[in-house]
Protein backbone atom coordinates (compact mmCIF):
# COMPACT_ATOMS: atom_id res chain seq x y z
CA UNK A 1 0.00 0.00 0.00
CA UNK A 2 2.74 2.43 1.07
CA UNK A 3 4.72 1.59 -2.06
CA UNK A 4 1.67 2.16 -4.23
CA UNK A 5 1.15 5.63 -2.73
CA UNK A 6 4.79 6.56 -3.35
CA UNK A 7 4.59 5.32 -6.93
CA UNK A 8 1.43 7.39 -7.40
CA UNK A 9 3.15 10.46 -6.02
CA UNK A 10 6.07 10.04 -8.41
CA UNK A 11 3.62 9.63 -11.26
CA UNK A 12 1.91 12.92 -10.35
CA UNK A 13 5.29 14.71 -10.02
CA UNK A 14 6.56 13.45 -13.37
CA UNK A 15 3.29 14.32 -15.15
CA UNK A 16 3.26 17.80 -13.63
CA UNK A 17 6.92 18.33 -14.60
CA UNK A 18 6.28 17.27 -18.19
CA UNK A 19 3.26 19.57 -18.52
CA UNK A 20 5.12 22.53 -17.05
CA UNK A 21 8.28 21.89 -19.06
CA UNK A 22 6.43 21.07 -22.27
CA UNK A 23 7.05 24.50 -23.89
CA UNK A 24 10.76 24.31 -23.09
CA UNK A 25 11.14 20.68 -24.20
CA UNK A 26 9.25 21.42 -27.39
CA UNK A 27 11.51 24.42 -28.07
CA UNK A 28 14.59 22.21 -27.65
CA UNK A 29 13.16 19.59 -30.03
CA UNK A 30 12.28 22.19 -32.67
CA UNK A 31 15.73 23.77 -32.37
CA UNK A 32 17.23 20.42 -33.39
CA UNK A 33 14.98 19.95 -36.43
CA UNK A 34 15.80 21.12 -39.92
CA UNK A 35 13.97 24.14 -41.35
CA UNK A 36 11.39 22.05 -43.26
CA UNK A 37 10.52 19.90 -40.25
CA UNK A 38 10.06 22.97 -38.04
CA UNK A 39 7.28 24.37 -40.24
CA UNK A 40 5.68 21.04 -41.23
CA UNK A 41 2.05 20.22 -40.53
CA UNK A 42 1.14 17.98 -38.80
CA UNK A 43 3.96 19.10 -36.49
CA UNK A 44 7.08 16.99 -36.20
CA UNK A 45 8.21 16.21 -32.67
CA UNK A 46 11.32 14.08 -32.86
CA UNK A 47 13.85 15.47 -35.40
CA UNK A 48 14.86 12.95 -38.06
CA UNK A 49 18.47 13.61 -37.14
CA UNK A 50 20.16 16.02 -34.76
CA UNK A 51 20.53 19.20 -36.72
CA UNK A 52 22.97 21.64 -35.12
CA UNK A 53 22.83 23.81 -38.24
CA UNK A 54 19.98 25.81 -36.68
CA UNK A 55 22.35 27.02 -33.96
CA UNK A 56 24.90 28.06 -36.57
CA UNK A 57 22.13 29.81 -38.50
CA UNK A 58 20.94 31.63 -35.38
CA UNK A 59 24.44 32.93 -34.73
CA UNK A 60 24.81 34.04 -38.35
CA UNK A 61 21.46 35.85 -38.42
CA UNK A 62 22.06 37.77 -35.21
CA UNK A 63 25.18 38.40 -33.12
CA UNK A 64 23.86 36.13 -30.35
CA UNK A 65 27.13 36.00 -28.43
CA UNK A 66 27.42 39.78 -28.59
CA UNK A 67 23.93 40.00 -27.02
CA UNK A 68 24.90 37.54 -24.31
CA UNK A 69 28.13 39.48 -23.70
CA UNK A 70 26.21 42.79 -23.44
CA UNK A 71 23.70 41.29 -21.02
CA UNK A 72 26.55 39.87 -18.93
CA UNK A 73 28.32 43.23 -18.75
CA UNK A 74 25.16 45.09 -17.74
CA UNK A 75 24.10 42.38 -15.25
CA UNK A 76 27.60 42.34 -13.71
CA UNK A 77 27.68 46.14 -13.33
CA UNK A 78 24.22 46.18 -11.75
CA UNK A 79 24.98 43.22 -9.45
CA UNK A 80 28.29 44.61 -8.18
CA UNK A 81 26.81 48.10 -7.89
CA UNK A 82 23.82 46.89 -5.88
CA UNK A 83 26.05 44.80 -3.61
CA UNK A 84 28.14 47.89 -2.82
CA UNK A 85 25.37 50.49 -2.42
CA UNK A 86 22.97 48.15 -0.59
CA UNK A 87 25.54 46.78 1.86
CA UNK A 88 26.79 50.28 2.72
CA UNK A 89 23.26 51.56 3.31
CA UNK A 90 22.28 48.43 5.23
CA UNK A 91 25.30 48.95 7.48
CA UNK A 92 24.20 52.48 8.30
CA UNK A 93 20.67 51.31 9.08
CA UNK A 94 21.84 48.54 11.39
CA UNK A 95 25.07 49.80 13.02
CA UNK A 96 25.03 53.62 12.95
CA UNK A 97 22.97 56.02 14.96
CA UNK A 98 22.07 59.27 13.25
CA UNK A 99 19.22 61.77 13.19
CA UNK A 100 16.36 60.91 10.84
CA UNK A 101 17.37 57.29 10.51
CA UNK A 102 13.84 55.87 10.60
CA UNK A 103 12.59 58.52 8.20
CA UNK A 104 15.37 57.80 5.70
CA UNK A 105 14.70 54.08 6.01
CA UNK A 106 11.06 54.73 5.15
CA UNK A 107 12.18 56.77 2.13
CA UNK A 108 14.21 53.78 0.97
CA UNK A 109 11.25 51.44 1.41
CA UNK A 110 8.93 53.81 -0.42
CA UNK A 111 10.93 53.37 -3.63
CA UNK A 112 9.58 49.81 -3.76
CA UNK A 113 6.10 51.23 -4.15
CA UNK A 114 6.95 53.26 -7.23
CA UNK A 115 6.71 50.97 -10.25
CA UNK A 116 9.48 51.36 -12.79
CA UNK A 117 6.93 51.80 -15.61
CA UNK A 118 5.66 55.00 -14.01
CA UNK A 119 9.06 56.66 -14.22
CA UNK A 120 10.31 55.43 -17.61
CA UNK A 121 9.42 58.54 -19.59
CA UNK A 122 11.48 61.01 -17.49
CA UNK A 123 14.21 58.39 -17.05
CA UNK A 124 14.41 57.99 -20.80
CA UNK A 125 14.75 61.79 -21.12
CA UNK A 126 17.53 61.80 -18.49
CA UNK A 127 19.53 59.10 -20.27
CA UNK A 128 19.04 60.91 -23.59
CA UNK A 129 20.20 64.24 -22.04
CA UNK A 130 23.31 62.51 -20.75
CA UNK A 131 24.01 61.06 -24.21
CA UNK A 132 23.86 57.62 -22.65
CA UNK A 133 21.57 55.98 -25.23
CA UNK A 134 23.27 52.84 -26.59
CA UNK A 135 25.77 52.67 -23.73
CA UNK A 136 26.35 50.25 -20.87
CA UNK A 137 25.99 53.05 -18.34
CA UNK A 138 22.59 53.96 -19.77
CA UNK A 139 21.47 50.37 -19.32
CA UNK A 140 22.92 49.92 -15.84
CA UNK A 141 23.16 53.17 -13.85
CA UNK A 142 19.42 53.62 -13.08
CA UNK A 143 19.50 50.23 -11.30
CA UNK A 144 22.61 50.74 -9.18
CA UNK A 145 20.67 50.99 -5.93
CA UNK A 146 18.09 48.61 -4.55
CA UNK A 147 15.70 49.12 -1.65
CA UNK A 148 14.94 45.41 -1.69
CA UNK A 149 18.66 44.62 -1.44
CA UNK A 150 19.15 47.12 1.38
CA UNK A 151 16.25 45.59 3.27
CA UNK A 152 17.52 42.04 2.69
CA UNK A 153 21.07 42.85 3.86
CA UNK A 154 19.86 44.87 6.83
CA UNK A 155 17.94 41.81 8.03
CA UNK A 156 21.17 39.78 7.77
CA UNK A 157 23.36 42.41 9.47
CA UNK A 158 20.97 42.66 12.40
CA UNK A 159 21.46 39.00 13.24
CA UNK A 160 25.17 39.60 13.94
CA UNK A 161 25.88 39.64 17.69
CA UNK A 162 26.41 43.04 19.20
CA UNK A 163 29.44 41.82 21.18
CA UNK A 164 31.24 41.49 17.88
CA UNK A 165 31.13 45.23 17.46
CA UNK A 166 32.14 45.93 21.05
CA UNK A 167 35.16 43.68 20.68
CA UNK A 168 36.16 45.35 17.45
CA UNK A 169 35.90 48.78 19.10
CA UNK A 170 38.18 47.69 21.94
CA UNK A 171 40.72 46.64 19.32
CA UNK A 172 40.52 50.17 17.94
CA UNK A 173 38.65 49.15 14.79
CA UNK A 174 36.74 51.93 13.01
CA UNK A 175 33.36 51.57 11.40
CA UNK A 176 34.55 51.12 7.87
CA UNK A 177 37.15 48.52 8.78
CA UNK A 178 34.61 46.68 10.92
CA UNK A 179 32.22 46.72 7.95
CA UNK A 180 34.86 45.41 5.55
CA UNK A 181 36.60 42.81 7.70
CA UNK A 182 33.77 41.52 9.90
CA UNK A 183 30.26 42.36 8.66
CA UNK A 184 30.73 41.57 4.98
CA UNK A 185 32.54 38.22 5.39
CA UNK A 186 30.01 37.08 8.00
CA UNK A 187 27.09 37.96 5.72
CA UNK A 188 28.22 36.03 2.66
CA UNK A 189 24.97 34.00 2.32
CA UNK A 190 22.84 37.14 2.17
CA UNK A 191 25.25 38.80 -0.26
CA UNK A 192 25.07 35.68 -2.42
CA UNK A 193 21.28 35.83 -2.39
CA UNK A 194 21.25 39.45 -3.54
CA UNK A 195 23.89 38.72 -6.21
CA UNK A 196 22.00 35.81 -7.81
CA UNK A 197 18.69 37.66 -7.59
CA UNK A 198 19.85 40.94 -9.14
CA UNK A 199 21.91 39.22 -11.83
CA UNK A 200 18.93 37.18 -13.00
CA UNK A 201 16.52 40.12 -12.87
CA UNK A 202 18.87 42.29 -14.94
CA UNK A 203 19.71 39.53 -17.41
CA UNK A 204 16.01 39.09 -18.14
CA UNK A 205 15.11 42.79 -18.41
CA UNK A 206 13.02 43.78 -21.40
CA UNK A 207 11.35 47.20 -21.42
CA UNK A 208 14.29 49.39 -20.39
CA UNK A 209 16.84 47.93 -22.86
CA UNK A 210 14.16 48.14 -25.55
CA UNK A 211 13.94 51.90 -24.99
CA UNK A 212 17.59 52.86 -24.58
CA UNK A 213 19.30 50.67 -27.19
CA UNK A 214 19.05 50.97 -30.95
CA UNK A 215 22.33 49.68 -32.31
CA UNK A 216 22.61 45.93 -32.85
CA UNK A 217 25.97 45.91 -31.10
CA UNK A 218 24.40 47.28 -27.90
CA UNK A 219 21.29 45.07 -27.81
CA UNK A 220 20.83 42.79 -24.82
CA UNK A 221 19.63 39.21 -25.16
CA UNK A 222 15.92 39.70 -24.71
CA UNK A 223 15.75 42.47 -27.32
CA UNK A 224 18.20 40.78 -29.67
CA UNK A 225 15.99 37.71 -29.90
CA UNK A 226 13.44 39.74 -31.78
CA UNK A 227 15.98 40.18 -34.60
CA UNK A 228 15.69 36.48 -35.35
CA UNK A 229 11.93 36.79 -35.46
CA UNK A 230 12.01 39.70 -37.93
CA UNK A 231 14.41 38.00 -40.27
CA UNK A 232 12.25 36.42 -42.97
CA UNK A 233 14.93 33.87 -43.76
CA UNK A 234 15.01 32.54 -40.22
CA UNK A 235 12.77 29.52 -39.70
CA UNK A 236 11.36 28.38 -36.37
CA UNK A 237 14.24 26.01 -35.75
CA UNK A 238 16.84 28.79 -35.70
CA UNK A 239 14.59 31.11 -33.67
CA UNK A 240 14.24 28.35 -31.07
CA UNK A 241 18.01 27.75 -31.21
CA UNK A 242 18.45 31.44 -30.34
CA UNK A 243 15.97 31.14 -27.47
CA UNK A 244 17.82 28.13 -26.06
CA UNK A 245 21.22 29.84 -26.41
CA UNK A 246 20.25 33.00 -24.54
CA UNK A 247 18.38 31.06 -21.85
CA UNK A 248 21.32 28.75 -21.07
CA UNK A 249 23.24 31.17 -18.80
CA UNK A 250 20.11 31.88 -16.75
CA UNK A 251 19.33 28.16 -16.51
CA UNK A 252 22.86 27.41 -15.28
CA UNK A 253 22.49 30.20 -12.74
CA UNK A 254 19.25 28.62 -11.46
CA UNK A 255 20.91 25.24 -11.03
CA UNK A 256 24.03 26.68 -9.35
CA UNK A 257 22.33 29.31 -7.22
CA UNK A 258 18.90 27.86 -6.52
CA UNK A 259 19.34 28.03 -2.74
CA UNK A 260 20.32 31.71 -2.87
CA UNK A 261 17.55 32.53 -5.31
CA UNK A 262 14.87 30.85 -3.22
CA UNK A 263 16.05 32.79 -0.19
CA UNK A 264 15.85 36.04 -2.13
CA UNK A 265 12.40 35.43 -3.55
CA UNK A 266 10.93 34.38 -0.24
CA UNK A 267 12.52 37.23 1.72
CA UNK A 268 9.39 39.31 1.38
CA UNK A 269 6.98 36.50 2.17
CA UNK A 270 8.34 35.02 5.36
CA UNK A 271 8.86 37.46 8.14
CA UNK A 272 12.12 36.93 10.02
Amino acid sequence: MKKLVVAGQYLVLVTASLLLLFPVLYAILVSLQNAAESVAYPPVFIPSQLNWQSYVKAMETAPVFRFIFNSFVVSAIVTIGQLITASLAAYAFSFLNFPGRNAIFYIFLSTMMIPWEVTIIPNYFTIRELNWLDTYQGLAVPFLASAFGTFLLRQAFMTLPRQLYDAARIDGCGHFRFFLTMVLPLSRPALGTLAVYSFLMTYNQYLWPLLVTNKDTMRTVQIGLAMLQWDQAAAWNSIMAGVILVSLPAALLLIAGQKQLVRGLTAGAIKG
Partner: protein
Protein backbone atom coordinates in the same frame (compact mmCIF):
# COMPACT_ATOMS: atom_id res chain seq x y z
CA UNK B 1 7.81 45.25 8.65
CA UNK B 2 9.80 45.69 11.84
CA UNK B 3 10.75 49.32 11.99
CA UNK B 4 11.75 49.19 15.63
CA UNK B 5 15.43 49.50 14.81
CA UNK B 6 17.45 47.84 17.48
CA UNK B 7 19.34 49.73 20.16
CA UNK B 8 22.21 51.26 18.31
CA UNK B 9 25.85 51.53 18.92
CA UNK B 10 26.93 54.95 19.88
CA UNK B 11 30.56 55.92 20.09
CA UNK B 12 31.60 57.71 23.23
CA UNK B 13 28.07 58.63 24.40
CA UNK B 14 26.40 61.98 23.93
CA UNK B 15 23.51 62.98 21.65
CA UNK B 16 23.29 62.06 18.03
CA UNK B 17 24.02 65.08 15.94
CA UNK B 18 25.04 66.40 12.59
CA UNK B 19 28.42 64.70 12.77
CA UNK B 20 26.67 61.34 12.93
CA UNK B 21 24.47 62.30 10.01
CA UNK B 22 27.47 63.32 7.95
CA UNK B 23 29.19 60.02 8.63
CA UNK B 24 26.01 58.05 7.87
CA UNK B 25 25.71 59.90 4.58
CA UNK B 26 28.96 58.28 3.42
CA UNK B 27 27.14 54.95 3.68
CA UNK B 28 23.65 55.96 2.58
CA UNK B 29 24.66 58.60 0.04
CA UNK B 30 25.35 56.35 -2.97
CA UNK B 31 21.93 54.68 -2.81
CA UNK B 32 20.21 57.96 -2.06
CA UNK B 33 21.73 59.66 -5.12
CA UNK B 34 20.49 56.87 -7.41
CA UNK B 35 17.02 56.94 -5.85
CA UNK B 36 16.76 60.72 -6.15
CA UNK B 37 17.89 60.76 -9.79
CA UNK B 38 16.02 57.70 -11.06
CA UNK B 39 13.01 57.28 -8.77
CA UNK B 40 11.94 60.45 -6.98
CA UNK B 41 12.86 63.07 -9.56
CA UNK B 42 11.16 61.11 -12.41
CA UNK B 43 8.03 60.62 -10.28
CA UNK B 44 7.73 64.38 -9.73
CA UNK B 45 8.63 64.99 -13.37
CA UNK B 46 5.91 62.56 -14.50
CA UNK B 47 3.35 64.51 -12.51
CA UNK B 48 4.61 67.76 -14.09
CA UNK B 49 4.55 66.22 -17.57
CA UNK B 50 0.98 65.07 -17.06
CA UNK B 51 -0.02 68.69 -16.50
CA UNK B 52 1.87 70.25 -19.41
CA UNK B 53 1.50 69.95 -23.14
CA UNK B 54 4.88 68.99 -24.58
CA UNK B 55 6.54 69.13 -27.96
CA UNK B 56 7.66 66.05 -29.86
CA UNK B 57 10.87 65.58 -27.90
CA UNK B 58 9.17 66.01 -24.54
CA UNK B 59 9.96 69.64 -23.66
CA UNK B 60 7.13 71.20 -21.64
CA UNK B 61 5.32 73.91 -23.63
CA UNK B 62 2.41 75.17 -21.57
CA UNK B 63 0.39 74.29 -18.49
CA UNK B 64 -2.83 72.37 -19.06
CA UNK B 65 -3.77 71.47 -15.49
CA UNK B 66 -5.79 68.31 -15.02
CA UNK B 67 -7.21 68.31 -18.52
CA UNK B 68 -5.26 65.17 -19.50
CA UNK B 69 -6.82 63.32 -16.58
CA UNK B 70 -10.26 64.53 -17.61
CA UNK B 71 -9.55 63.37 -21.15
CA UNK B 72 -8.35 59.97 -19.93
CA UNK B 73 -11.56 59.25 -18.10
CA UNK B 74 -14.01 60.81 -20.53
CA UNK B 75 -12.61 60.32 -24.04
CA UNK B 76 -10.41 57.81 -25.77
CA UNK B 77 -9.82 54.19 -24.86
CA UNK B 78 -8.36 54.52 -21.39
CA UNK B 79 -11.44 53.20 -19.62
CA UNK B 80 -11.47 50.25 -21.97
CA UNK B 81 -7.75 49.69 -21.44
CA UNK B 82 -8.21 49.83 -17.69
CA UNK B 83 -10.97 47.24 -17.95
CA UNK B 84 -8.74 45.02 -20.13
CA UNK B 85 -5.95 45.36 -17.60
CA UNK B 86 -8.34 44.33 -14.84
CA UNK B 87 -9.55 41.31 -16.84
CA UNK B 88 -5.95 40.41 -17.63
CA UNK B 89 -5.11 40.65 -13.92
CA UNK B 90 -7.98 38.38 -12.89
CA UNK B 91 -7.26 35.85 -15.63
CA UNK B 92 -3.60 35.56 -14.65
CA UNK B 93 -3.59 35.95 -10.86
CA UNK B 94 -6.26 33.38 -9.98
CA UNK B 95 -5.01 30.52 -12.22
CA UNK B 96 -1.41 31.35 -11.25
CA UNK B 97 -2.28 31.00 -7.56
CA UNK B 98 -4.33 27.81 -7.92
CA UNK B 99 -1.83 26.01 -10.16
CA UNK B 100 1.12 27.35 -8.14
CA UNK B 101 -0.51 26.04 -4.95
CA UNK B 102 -0.91 22.61 -6.55
CA UNK B 103 2.73 22.52 -7.65
CA UNK B 104 3.91 23.71 -4.22
CA UNK B 105 1.77 21.05 -2.53
CA UNK B 106 3.23 18.18 -4.54
CA UNK B 107 6.76 19.64 -4.29
CA UNK B 108 6.40 19.43 -0.52
CA UNK B 109 6.01 15.63 -0.51
CA UNK B 110 8.90 13.95 1.29
CA UNK B 111 10.35 11.71 -1.36
CA UNK B 112 13.77 10.81 -2.62
CA UNK B 113 14.91 13.16 -5.38
CA UNK B 114 12.25 15.77 -4.63
CA UNK B 115 14.95 18.44 -5.07
CA UNK B 116 15.06 17.70 -8.80
CA UNK B 117 11.32 18.31 -9.09
CA UNK B 118 11.62 21.54 -7.11
CA UNK B 119 14.25 22.79 -9.57
CA UNK B 120 11.99 21.85 -12.48
CA UNK B 121 9.02 23.66 -10.94
CA UNK B 122 11.16 26.78 -10.44
CA UNK B 123 12.42 26.73 -14.03
CA UNK B 124 9.87 29.06 -15.74
CA UNK B 125 11.55 31.74 -13.63
CA UNK B 126 14.67 31.70 -15.79
CA UNK B 127 12.86 31.81 -19.13
CA UNK B 128 12.73 35.54 -19.72
CA UNK B 129 9.71 37.23 -21.17
CA UNK B 130 10.95 37.47 -24.76
CA UNK B 131 12.09 33.84 -24.85
CA UNK B 132 8.84 32.62 -23.36
CA UNK B 133 6.82 34.69 -25.80
CA UNK B 134 8.73 33.29 -28.80
CA UNK B 135 8.15 29.72 -27.65
CA UNK B 136 4.44 30.32 -27.15
CA UNK B 137 4.19 32.10 -30.48
CA UNK B 138 5.38 28.86 -32.05
CA UNK B 139 2.86 26.86 -30.01
CA UNK B 140 -0.01 29.25 -30.88
CA UNK B 141 0.83 29.33 -34.59
CA UNK B 142 -2.68 28.90 -36.12
CA UNK B 143 -1.78 27.07 -39.34
CA UNK B 144 1.05 24.79 -38.25
CA UNK B 145 1.09 25.15 -34.45
CA UNK B 146 1.05 22.28 -32.07
CA UNK B 147 -1.97 23.61 -30.19
CA UNK B 148 -4.04 23.60 -33.36
CA UNK B 149 -2.83 20.05 -33.99
CA UNK B 150 -3.88 18.77 -30.56
CA UNK B 151 -7.23 20.53 -30.72
CA UNK B 152 -7.94 19.14 -34.17
CA UNK B 153 -7.27 15.64 -32.74
CA UNK B 154 -10.00 16.45 -30.22
CA UNK B 155 -12.27 17.49 -33.05
CA UNK B 156 -12.12 21.24 -32.45
CA UNK B 157 -11.79 23.78 -35.20
CA UNK B 158 -8.85 26.05 -35.85
CA UNK B 159 -8.56 29.17 -33.70
CA UNK B 160 -6.42 32.19 -34.53
CA UNK B 161 -5.19 32.49 -30.97
CA UNK B 162 -3.31 35.76 -31.28
CA UNK B 163 -5.25 37.49 -34.06
CA UNK B 164 -8.81 36.75 -32.95
CA UNK B 165 -10.01 39.54 -30.61
CA UNK B 166 -11.98 36.94 -28.63
CA UNK B 167 -8.90 34.85 -27.88
CA UNK B 168 -5.89 37.21 -27.93
CA UNK B 169 -6.17 38.32 -24.30
CA UNK B 170 -6.67 34.75 -23.07
CA UNK B 171 -3.67 33.58 -25.10
CA UNK B 172 -1.42 36.25 -23.62
CA UNK B 173 -2.73 35.32 -20.16
CA UNK B 174 -1.66 31.70 -20.73
CA UNK B 175 1.91 32.87 -21.35
CA UNK B 176 1.83 35.10 -18.25
CA UNK B 177 0.45 32.35 -16.03
CA UNK B 178 3.10 29.93 -17.26
CA UNK B 179 5.80 32.49 -16.52
CA UNK B 180 4.48 33.20 -13.03
CA UNK B 181 4.44 29.54 -11.94
CA UNK B 182 8.15 29.41 -11.03
CA UNK B 183 7.93 32.30 -8.59
CA UNK B 184 4.55 31.27 -7.18
CA UNK B 185 5.63 27.67 -6.59
CA UNK B 186 8.89 28.65 -4.85
CA UNK B 187 7.25 31.15 -2.52
CA UNK B 188 4.21 28.98 -1.73
CA UNK B 189 6.47 25.98 -1.11
CA UNK B 190 8.51 27.99 1.39
CA UNK B 191 5.24 28.86 3.10
CA UNK B 192 4.22 25.19 3.27
CA UNK B 193 7.56 24.30 4.80
CA UNK B 194 6.99 26.60 7.77
CA UNK B 195 3.89 24.65 8.87
CA UNK B 196 4.88 22.46 11.82
CA UNK B 197 4.57 18.73 11.09
CA UNK B 198 3.01 18.13 14.53
CA UNK B 199 -0.16 19.86 13.40
CA UNK B 200 -0.65 17.24 10.71
CA UNK B 201 0.26 14.42 13.09
CA UNK B 202 -2.34 15.40 15.64
CA UNK B 203 -4.90 15.88 12.85
CA UNK B 204 -4.18 12.36 11.61
CA UNK B 205 -4.61 10.99 15.12
CA UNK B 206 -8.00 12.72 15.20
CA UNK B 207 -8.80 10.90 11.95
CA UNK B 208 -8.67 13.84 9.51
CA UNK B 209 -8.13 12.79 5.89
CA UNK B 210 -5.88 14.59 3.39
CA UNK B 211 -8.66 16.91 2.25
CA UNK B 212 -9.63 17.94 5.80
CA UNK B 213 -5.94 18.48 6.60
CA UNK B 214 -5.55 20.71 3.57
CA UNK B 215 -8.69 22.72 4.33
CA UNK B 216 -8.26 23.06 8.10
CA UNK B 217 -4.48 23.28 8.49
CA UNK B 218 -2.72 24.06 5.22
CA UNK B 219 -4.98 26.83 3.92
CA UNK B 220 -5.34 28.82 7.18
CA UNK B 221 -1.62 28.51 7.95
CA UNK B 222 -0.78 29.52 4.40
CA UNK B 223 -2.99 32.59 4.26
CA UNK B 224 -0.21 35.18 4.85
CA UNK B 225 1.91 33.61 2.10
CA UNK B 226 -1.06 33.26 -0.23
CA UNK B 227 -1.91 36.90 0.36
CA UNK B 228 1.67 37.96 -0.36
CA UNK B 229 1.74 36.00 -3.64
CA UNK B 230 -1.69 37.37 -4.52
CA UNK B 231 -0.58 41.00 -4.16
CA UNK B 232 2.78 40.51 -5.89
CA UNK B 233 1.07 38.71 -8.80
CA UNK B 234 -1.47 41.47 -9.05
CA UNK B 235 1.23 44.16 -9.23
CA UNK B 236 3.15 42.08 -11.79
CA UNK B 237 0.03 41.59 -13.89
CA UNK B 238 -0.70 45.32 -13.84
CA UNK B 239 2.83 45.94 -15.16
CA UNK B 240 2.77 43.33 -17.95
CA UNK B 241 4.45 44.57 -21.09
CA UNK B 242 6.82 42.11 -22.78
CA UNK B 243 4.29 39.42 -23.72
CA UNK B 244 1.99 42.04 -25.21
CA UNK B 245 4.72 43.80 -27.18
CA UNK B 246 6.00 40.58 -28.72
CA UNK B 247 2.82 38.59 -29.22
CA UNK B 248 0.06 41.07 -30.08
CA UNK B 249 1.32 44.71 -30.02
CA UNK B 250 -1.86 45.59 -28.16
CA UNK B 251 -4.02 44.21 -30.96
CA UNK B 252 -6.07 42.86 -32.56
CA UNK B 253 -8.23 46.00 -32.54
CA UNK B 254 -6.98 47.02 -29.10
CA UNK B 255 -8.04 43.70 -27.55
CA UNK B 256 -4.81 43.45 -25.54
CA UNK B 257 -3.99 47.15 -25.10
CA UNK B 258 -3.25 47.02 -21.36
CA UNK B 259 -2.15 50.17 -19.50
CA UNK B 260 1.62 49.79 -19.60
CA UNK B 261 1.52 48.98 -23.30
CA UNK B 262 -0.72 51.98 -23.89
CA UNK B 263 1.72 54.23 -21.98
CA UNK B 264 4.57 52.90 -24.13
CA UNK B 265 2.66 53.51 -27.40
CA UNK B 266 1.46 56.98 -26.46
CA UNK B 267 4.91 58.09 -25.30
CA UNK B 268 7.32 56.46 -27.71
CA UNK B 269 5.25 56.14 -30.90
CA UNK B 270 2.75 59.00 -30.72
CA UNK B 271 5.11 61.29 -28.71
CA UNK B 272 2.11 62.24 -26.61
CA UNK B 273 4.19 62.40 -23.43
CA UNK B 274 1.69 64.39 -21.42
CA UNK B 275 -1.19 61.99 -22.02
CA UNK B 276 1.08 58.98 -21.39
CA UNK B 277 2.34 60.48 -18.13
CA UNK B 278 -1.19 61.02 -16.88
CA UNK B 279 -1.88 57.32 -17.52
CA UNK B 280 1.34 56.43 -15.68
CA UNK B 281 0.27 58.46 -12.66
CA UNK B 282 -3.10 56.71 -12.56
CA UNK B 283 -1.27 53.37 -12.69
CA UNK B 284 0.98 54.60 -9.89
CA UNK B 285 -1.99 55.27 -7.63
CA UNK B 286 -3.56 51.89 -8.36
CA UNK B 287 -0.33 50.09 -7.47
CA UNK B 288 0.23 52.35 -4.45
CA UNK B 289 -3.14 51.36 -3.00
CA UNK B 290 -2.35 47.66 -3.52
CA UNK B 291 1.10 47.97 -1.92
CA UNK B 292 -0.21 49.87 1.10
CA UNK B 293 -2.92 47.25 1.47
CA UNK B 294 -0.25 44.57 1.43
CA UNK B 295 1.83 46.26 4.11
CA UNK B 296 -1.13 47.03 6.35
CA UNK B 297 -2.63 43.55 6.17
CA UNK B 298 0.67 41.69 6.47
CA UNK B 299 1.63 43.95 9.35
CA UNK B 300 -1.54 43.23 11.29
CA UNK B 301 -1.25 39.55 10.39
CA UNK B 302 -5.04 39.46 10.47
CA UNK B 303 -4.94 36.03 8.90
CA UNK B 304 -2.64 34.56 11.49
CA UNK B 305 -3.86 32.27 14.30
Amino acid sequence: MDLQLRATLKDGGGRVGLRDLRRAMLYIGPSLVVFILFVFYPLVKSIRLSMHETNIIGVEKYYVGFSQYVEIFTAGNFGENLWLTLLFTIYTVIPGLVIGMFFAYIANWRLKGIGVFRTIFASPLVVAVASASMIWMLIFNPSAGILTFFLSKLGMSQVNWLSDPKWALISVCVVSVWRSLGFNTIVLLSGLQTIPEQLYESARIDGAGPFRQFKDITLPMMSPTLFFVFIVSMINALQTFGEINILTQGGPAGATNVIVYSIYREAFFNFHFSYASAQAIVLFFIILVLTVLEFVILEKKVFYR
